[in-house]
């Protein structure tokens, strides 16, 4: 793996900014006028109680949902409407809250599939599978093997992912996202349903990805210990609205956040 190429944003500058985004489904206002930004090479956490609109926010960022209002600027380009394909093309990768792997394929093929956009040989080369097509396959296999080493899943590379335990599936899914060499990695509850040890492993991978490759990470997570340890800045959503945006330490002391999580006496 190597640092993402072609990214023009320097570390510390704004990579993605979300301005006044609102999203509603019929009468349900999932996101109301939310603005925040993500800086290059930081770990940005998005937290909030259930139903706060965190996953909807990620879906907006990567093109699944089209917000009714607001602007999203990624790497200096502003767009309102886009498809997930465009997001992938622009360098946004993500994992899902409920694992969304290709269940019939091996772990290796899943991660190889993550490199689809990086492979360019056309149909006819692939039919022949000689020369340049073979070289390309080898080159990408080499990169994928580096990811497999990094995530310590060598032993399961040929196993269909449907047969893997949940914790490993999450790891393969992270591998698939990493294979895209993204500029921005969106992680939707990467530690949901894991035991302590698996959480520690996953935290280590996230920190390593961020530190070694400078990948910018947006993280949704319910485990506050993890969030406070990993993230540089935290956005707090509640009922679709932003109620806080600060460093972990400040968020912990914020009265609005405490109220949102613990409730207020009436």
């Amino acid at each position: 793996m190597r640092a993402p190429a072609g990214s023009t944003v320097a570390a510390g500058e704004v990579l993605l900014s979300v301005e006044n985004v609102s999203l509603s489904f019929g009468g349900v206002k999932a996101i109301q006028d939310v603005s925040f930004d993500i800086r290059k090479s930081e770990v940005r956490a998005i937290i909030g109680p259930n139903g706060a609109g965190k996953t909807s926010m990620l879906n907006v960022v990567n093109g699944f949902y089209q917000p009714q209002h607001g602007r999203i600027t990624f790497k200096g380009t502003t767009r309102t409407n886009m498809r997930p394909y465009d997001a992938a093309h622009g360098g946004i990768a993500r994992t899902f809250q409920n694992v969304a792997l290709f269940r019939g394929m091996s772990a290796l093929d899943n991660i190889m599939a993550g490199r689809t956009l990086k492979m360019h040989r056309n149909f006819f080369w692939q039919i022949l599978r000689i020369g340049p097509a073979l070289a390309e396959e080898d080159e990408h296999r080499h990169r994928v093997e580096e990811i497999i080493d990094f995530l310590e899943i060598q032993a399961i590379r040929k196993v269909p992912v449907g047969r893997l335990p949940y914790g490993l599936q999450k790891r393969v899914e992270l591998g698939r996202a990493l294979a895209m060499e993204p500029d921005l990695l969106l992680l939707d509850e990467p530690m949901a349903g894991m035991n302590l040890e698996e959480k520690e492993d996953m935290s280590r991978f996230i920190v390593d990805v961020n530190e070694q490759y400078g990948t910018t990470i947006a993280l949704i997570e319910h485990d506050m210990g993890v969030v406070m340890d990993l993230s540089d800045r935290v956005v707090v959503l509640d009922h679709g609205a932003k109620i806080a945006d600060a460093t972990p330490d400040d968020v912990k002391r914020d009265q609005n956040v405490i109220d949102a999580y613990l409730g207020v006496a009436h």
Binding site: P84, A100, M105, A113, T116, M119, I127
Partner: protein
């Protein structure tokens, strides 16, 4: 006992990704091909060629085509018969109207025409899935059957509505004996099966499988549904079209649209399901099963010396065949290819327990 991979070390990614990574498998395949090309012609008679070998090979090719679409890309299709008809009639018309064209180009043309029609009828797959798509492809089956029966140009205004191919030759060599037909079909099917295998284990194949397993996740890694689904329809229809042309030219010789009716579509679909979804080998096994078992059941009373009337035999054939399909699907829903894989896995250790 002799099937051991001990001592065979993979030192390159290429050898790890080979179709037959184990040396014994490679020898087995080479031996099988040599047997098919060199030894079979020594003893095979007319019946074996025209009723067994040629049909199995051609229908295997059609099954590979459908397997690409249904097994690898997850798009259920009941239009296989119609696409075979497109291939057959396109090849017939090219051979009829431009007689000097090489035979291989004739078949490629059949495949390409079928591919275009396949892409056209694949467009609904962008909006509908599963059973609904199956019904939409069924509509294409009926439409194509109707077109070849009613649009007289396709059948060269033949009054009976059936068409017949003239003498067939390749590079000046007439392909008139069953043996030559068999060899031609064998080589073409082998080459196309190899290219299909190459496709499904490369980027394109992963793209199809990703679309099949989780279309949302496929989109976020940068796979366009339009591209993935229509390319599966295109490649699948190409294979089915070539199979249709071969079926018309080498199995039937003369045919009418009824030869490619919806029963043909179901037959190919059963081959794919029984053989094993998303397996090239399974396509061959499924075709062999569907073609050979009825023949076997039909002959069995005669061999055993049981005097049954022809009608009874054919009724029994249907009943036993149906029961066998149900039995196989219960025992191994993932098809004969899966049984084969399990057997090979067991063989690696046999005769030791572990």
């Amino acid at each position: 006992m002799f099937y051991r991979e001990a001592g065979q070390f993979k030192t390159t990614y290429g050898s790890d990704e080979a179709i037959f990574p184990i040396v014994q498998d490679r020898w087995f395949v080479i031996a099988a091909i040599a047997f098919a090309v060199l030894v079979v012609p020594l003893f095979a008679g007319q019946y074996l060629y025209t009723e067994v070998l040629i049909p199995v090979l051609i229908l295997s090719l059609a099954a590979i085509g459908l397997n690409i679409l249904t097994g690898y890309c997850g798009q259920l299709s009941l239009g296989t018969g119609g696409f075979m008809a497109v291939g057959a009639y396109a090849a017939y018309n090219l051979a009829l109207r431009v007689p000097e064209v090489n035979l291989i180009l004739v078949f490629l043309f059949g495949g390409l025409m079928s591919m275009l029609v396949g892409i056209l009828f694949g467009v609904p797959s962008l909006r509908i899935k599963g059973f609904y798509l199956a019904v939409a492809t069924l509509a294409s089956q009926f439409f194509l059957e109707w077109a070849f029966a009613r649009i007289k140009w396709f059948t060269n205004y033949a009054p009976s509505g059936s068409v017949a191919v003239g003498p067939i030759e390749l590079f000046g060599i007439p392909i008139n004996s069953p043996e030559r037909k068999y060899l031609f079909v064998f080589i073409l099917v082998a080459v196309l099966a190899l290219t299909a295998k190459n496709l499904v284990r490369s980027r394109v194949g992963r793209m199809w499988m990703a679309m099949r397993d989780m279309d949302i996740a496929a989109e976020i890694i940068g796979i366009r549904p339009l591209h993935a689904k229509l390319s599966a329809f295109a490649v699948s229809s190409f294979y089915v079209g070539v199979a249709g042309a071969l079926w018309g030219f080498f199995r039937l010789g003369s045919w009418e649209p009824l030869a490619f009716d919806v029963n043909r579509s179901f037959q190919i679909l059963f081959m794919v399901i029984i053989g094993g979804l998303s397996s090239i080998l399974g396509s061959f096994l499924g075709a062999a099963f569907i073609v050979l078992v009825p023949i076997f059941l039909n002959q069995l009373p005669g061999w055993l010396g049981v005097g049954l009337s022809t009608a009874t035999i054919s009724h029994l054939e249907f009943m036993i065949f149906g029961a066998m399909i149900v039995f196989f699907l219960i025992v191994e829903p993932r098809g004969l290819a899966r049984l084969w894989a399990i057997a090979k896995e067991k063989l690696r250790l046999w005769p030791f327990p572990y």
